[in-house]
């Protein structure tokens, strides 16, 4: 497998890897580093890649594990502290401010979810993977995935309603 073949295989999901890393690591810079590191790892194990049926799922699992490792390491925990009040800049909307604010609220709400739910909602609602793929990526049973997803969606919805009714009702 040479370089161009490898890139042909991995480039289609580089953004997905990046977004998942960002979801977990919060800061863009950390996510970029993680993505870079991950693709380098994939490149090193390029001989094995040919044997995998679903490279994308494999890469997503690697991303998940790598991000968890980063979060566990002390270095990253310092970084998350720094970035706790970090503002979303790239996903800004050019609609009205209130609307943008509400959309950003969703981002913050997802931030507060447990790691597992974060990953699943990212994979399902943002990246639109089907359940089989998600099960493989997170190594969970389908029912567990559904439960986590359902909980995440309900939590986000309830929190949004709470925020919007604040001071009104």
């Amino acid at each position: 497998m040479n370089q161009s073949d490898f890139l042909k295989v991995v480039l289609p999901f580089k953004d997905k890897v990046f977004r998942l890393a960002k979801r977990l690591l919060v800061s863009t810079e950390e996510a970029e580093d993680a993505t870079q590191e991950l693709f380098f790892k994939l490149w090193k194990s390029k001989e094995k890649i040919a044997d995998y049926k679903n490279v994308e799922a494999f890469a997503m699992t690697m991303t998940k594990n790598y991000c968890f490792d980063r979060l566990k390491s002390k270095q990253a925990s310092n970084l998350t502290l720094i970035h706790s009040n970090y503002k979303e800049t790239r996903t800004s909307l050019d609609k009205n401010i209130e609307h943008q604010d509400s959309v950003n609220q969703v981002h913050q709400l997802i931030e507060k979810l447990p790691e597992n739910q974060k990953i699943i909602i990212q994979l399902r609602d943002v990246e639109q993977y089907n359940f089989d793929e998600i099960c493989k990526m997170v190594d969970m049973k389908p029912t567990a995935v559904r439960v986590a997803l359902s909980r995440a969606r309900k939590t986000i919805r309830e929190e949004l309603i709470k925020k919007h009714n604040y001071g009104v009702s």
Binding site: Q3, R19, E32, T35, S150, R153, R157, I161
Partner: protein
């Protein structure tokens, strides 16, 4: 799409039982504007999901790590440093041994010279005694000669 139908789908969506197709239907409804007021929160959710999906990784992917050369250099530097350290310890040890030997030799020399001095002073004493003995004998001989 009818509102009743959307509400049904929403219920399924919250229970995580929708298919991807149904979710696309919901997404289209909520991102298209024109959303029923009591379902507004879903509009935010789906808008957020679609906007985040536009985010891309813009940096080029490097297949050779930038810092590999650095680490390699670091490896060799550490090897060199350890060799230097070993060498310096070795040299230092040798120097120390030399110094110690010198000290020992000096101490030995001092002791030997002290012993020799002692010997010489004692010998001098003996010589003097012998000298007095000679003078005594000479006088005795003189006296004996005169009496003869």
């Amino acid at each position: 799409m009818e509102l009743a139908n959307i509400e049904k789908l929403i219920q399924k969506y919250l229970d995580a039982e929708t298919t991807l197709q149904e979710e696309t239907t919901l997404r289209n409804y909520f991102t298209g504007g024109n959303v029923a007021p009591h379902l507004q929160e879903y509009e935010y959710m789906f808008n957020y999901f679609t906007t985040t999906k536009d985010e891309t990784y813009t940096k080029p992917i490097l297949l050779k790590p930038k810092n590999s050369k650095k680490t390699k250099n670091l490896k060799w530097v550490s090897v060199a440093a350890s060799v230097v350290l070993l060498f310096s310890v070795f040299i230092g040890n040798q120097e120390y041994k030399k110094y110690q030997e010198e000290q020992q030799a000096k101490a030995l020399y001092a002791e030997v010279s002290k012993g020799l001095k002692l010997l010489s002073t004692n010998l001098k004493k003996g010589e003097q005694a012998v000298a007095t003995l000679y003078t005594y004998e000479n006088t005795v001989n003189k006296i004996l000669k005169e009496t003869k």
